[in-house]
């Protein structure tokens, strides 16, 4: 373990690296304030993949890496819809996933919101509508906010969360 601590001291804190600082600092501050005001300091998100390519998930996972560390702003990805305030939907709403996505939404206690992420749920990714696809998601669920991009990068996702927080 001593190796690790040595390394840790040498590396220091990398969260909010200088290159990102200016653009991120503002978002951070605003998100924190909004989460505090509207969600008593903790916004719980349940991510549901309805047929993505997995890149959108990877970018959401990246939000937890030391550069972004989303949790310190009070936003958590939770394991169950029953713990969630918001459902974050990615993917093209496949025929096979549609009933499960709706079920997950029903399990979220009210008040609840839906954010869609990536171009897929809005049918703006290169995929074409066919028998296996039920997107756009708006035909099945009421979406409060959409985060565009294929995939949106972590900063864009954070900005998206902020816009959502301002909206409600």
């Amino acid at each position: 373990m001593i190796k690790f601590w040595n390394k840790r001291v040498k590396l220091g804190v990398i969260t909010e690296k200088p290159e990102l600082e200016e653009s991120l600092k503002k978002i951070h501050k605003e998100i924190k304030e909004n989460v505090k005001k509207k969600f008593a300091g903790s916004l719980a998100i349940r991510m549901v993949d309805s047929g993505s390519c997995n890149a959108c998930e990877a970018e959401c996972n990246a939000l937890s890496n030391p550069y972004f560390d989303l949790e310190r702003l009070g936003i958590y990805f939770v394991a169950s819809p029953r713990h969630a305030d918001v459902m974050l939907v990615s993917g093209v709403m496949t025929f096979n996933m549609t009933p499960h996505v709706k079920e997950a939404y029903e399990q979220i206690p009210s008040p609840k919101w839906i954010i869609s992420i990536g171009d897929c749920p809005m049918m703006q990714a290169p995929f074409e509508k066919n028998y296996a696809i039920n997107a756009p998601v708006t035909e099945h669920l009421e979406v409060t906010h959409h985060i565009a991009g294929c995939p949106p990068n972590p900063v864009e996702i954070m900005e998206g969360f902020l816009e959502f927080l301002k909206k409600i």
Partner: protein, 455 residues
């Protein structure tokens, strides 16, 4: 003869059943009026998913199959629809009445079933795992997928190769470069062109970068699933750095659209510098993690896939190499000249898969250094010839196989077999001597794709 894939093509007069082996390809023609074949699954157990898929997609009857349950079509999918047939044109299906899927289950005194999924507790893709449990011990696992089926094969039919590209690069986000390279090879065959060496090097560099990102992510997540979160923090920093490099090189964090025929500028000096840093970090990581006995306690002898089974199920990629099979699409002169060395372990457990990833990571760094060069070669786009083409590529998960038929300049049939499609079928074997709490760890150590599997 290693089994690679088995799929169906609809021709004007008949169905063709194509069976691809390592050294040969077999074609069987069957009539359209009564499309029946004999199962191959008795000899090649992993043929079963291919056959069940054919049955759903084309309505092929597998006469002597011991498992005739639907694979891609789920509880609410309209019965007797075969979407990959040429005369199927519907674009919106209505849900049919719910029809229960019969899981493979072991029953008996005190044995109970645990259903997990399709939606899981983390930020991961959907799929279903059905366990038969005796207390904590897993007696059996059935892996059930295809929740994410987007009908990609059908979607691409009738498109030109160029039109298909943006879709192909988004089949599996983590393997985008590999998919693009498979596509590239088919494109080159169809245009009868050779790829200039410098472009080949650039593409190979990007493929190794993709592998690096994927392995870095995994070497964090695997220990994390064994309760060692510090590794995830450390490795996810490295993978974020690598992803930013990908963005710097290709203009996209996942390299969508990156495999083109124009060499663009790479700042080689800064790339070398980053590679040096990465090498040091990975060495440090290895040195550090090897010293944590409680972690290896969880890794060692967990989720064993014995060599015999790995061969029998025709597994590929990291999983196969961790079980002692020397298989890698990069075993060829081009890669060997640029420093490729095969990573291999024999114990077939979580530890082996983890070590294979670490070794490949280090090898990728060596290769990326050798692939790096500044150059501005271009390849002109030329006419596309009709034909039936196949290609292979070693993605970060394993061997990827793609087949495209082109007729009158348009895609007549698109088929792709993700390495995950083979490997998922072997995952249940890894459970036999472990408890259910080990499942997330075992699953993560394989890190297979759902999107590429489901298409």
């Amino acid at each position: 003869m290693r089994f690679i894939a088995r799929f169906c093509k609809e021709k004007r007069e008949c169905f063709e059943i194509i069976t691809v082996y390592e050294e040969s390809t077999k074609i069987e023609e069957i009539s359209k009026e009564s499309p029946r074949i004999k199962t191959l699954a008795k000899k090649e157990p992993s043929a079963i998913w291919f056959e069940r898929k054919m049955q759903d997609d084309f309505g092929i009857i597998i006469e002597d199959a011991f498992d005739k349950r639907p694979l891609v079509h789920q509880e609410r999918f309209p019965r007797d629809l075969h979407p990959l047939r040429k005369d199927f044109k519907e674009i919106q299906l209505q849900e049919a009445p719910y029809l229960q899927y019969k899981y493979e289950e072991i029953s008996g005194d005190g044995v109970f079933q645990v259903a997990v999924g399709p939606i899981h507790a983390g930020i991961i893709e959907p799929g279903h795992f059905q366990f038969s449990q005796a207390g904590e011990e897993m007696l059996h696992l059935e892996v059930r997928h295809f929740y994410k089926n987007r009908g990609i094969e059908k979607m691409l039919e009738g498109k030109t190769l160029q039109e298909a590209k943006p879709i192909i690069e988004r089949i599996s986000g983590n393997e985008s470069i590999a998919y693009q390279i498979c596509y590239r090879d088919i494109y080159l065959q169809a245009t009868k062109q050779e790829l200039p060496l410098s472009l080949r090097k650039r593409h190979a560099l990007l493929l190794e970068l993709e592998r690096t990102i994927h392995h870095l992510t995994d070497i964090g997540f695997i220990p994390n699933d064994a309760g060692f979160g510090a590794a995830l923090s450390f490795a996810s920093k490295l993978s974020e750095d690598a992803r930013r490099k990908m963005n710097e090189l290709t203009g996209h964090r996942f390299g969508f659209g990156a495999i083109d025929f124009e060499n663009s500028f790479i700042d080689t000096a800064s790339f070398h510098e980053w590679l040096n840093d990465l090498k040091q970090s990975v060495e440090f990581f290895e040195d550090w993690i090897i010293d944590i006995p409680s972690l290896w306690d969880r890794f060692d002898t967990t989720g064993i896939l014995p060599l015999k089974k790995a061969v029998k199920y025709a597994t590929v990629g990291v999983i196969a190499r961790a079980s002692g099979i020397a298989i890698d699409r990069r075993i060829n002169p081009f890669y060997l000249e640029h420093g490729f060395s095969l990573a291999s372990e024999v114990s077939g457990d979580v530890a082996a898969r983890f070590k294979v990833r670490l070794a490949e990571l280090q090898n990728s760094i060596v290769m990326m250094r050798n692939f790096l060069e500044e150059d501005d070669t271009k390849l002109e786009v030329t006419e596309i010839y009709d034909g039936e083409y196949q290609s292979f590529c070693e993605s970060s998960i394993g061997e990827l196989f793609m087949a495209i038929d082109i007729k009158d300049g348009l895609i007549e049939r698109f088929f792709v077999r993700d390495p995950s499609f083979m490997n998922w079928q072997a995952v249940h074997i890894m459970m036999s001597s472990d408890i259910i709490a080990d499942f997330p760890l075992i699953n993560k150590s394989c890190d297979l794709s759902y999107a590429g599997n489901d298409l």
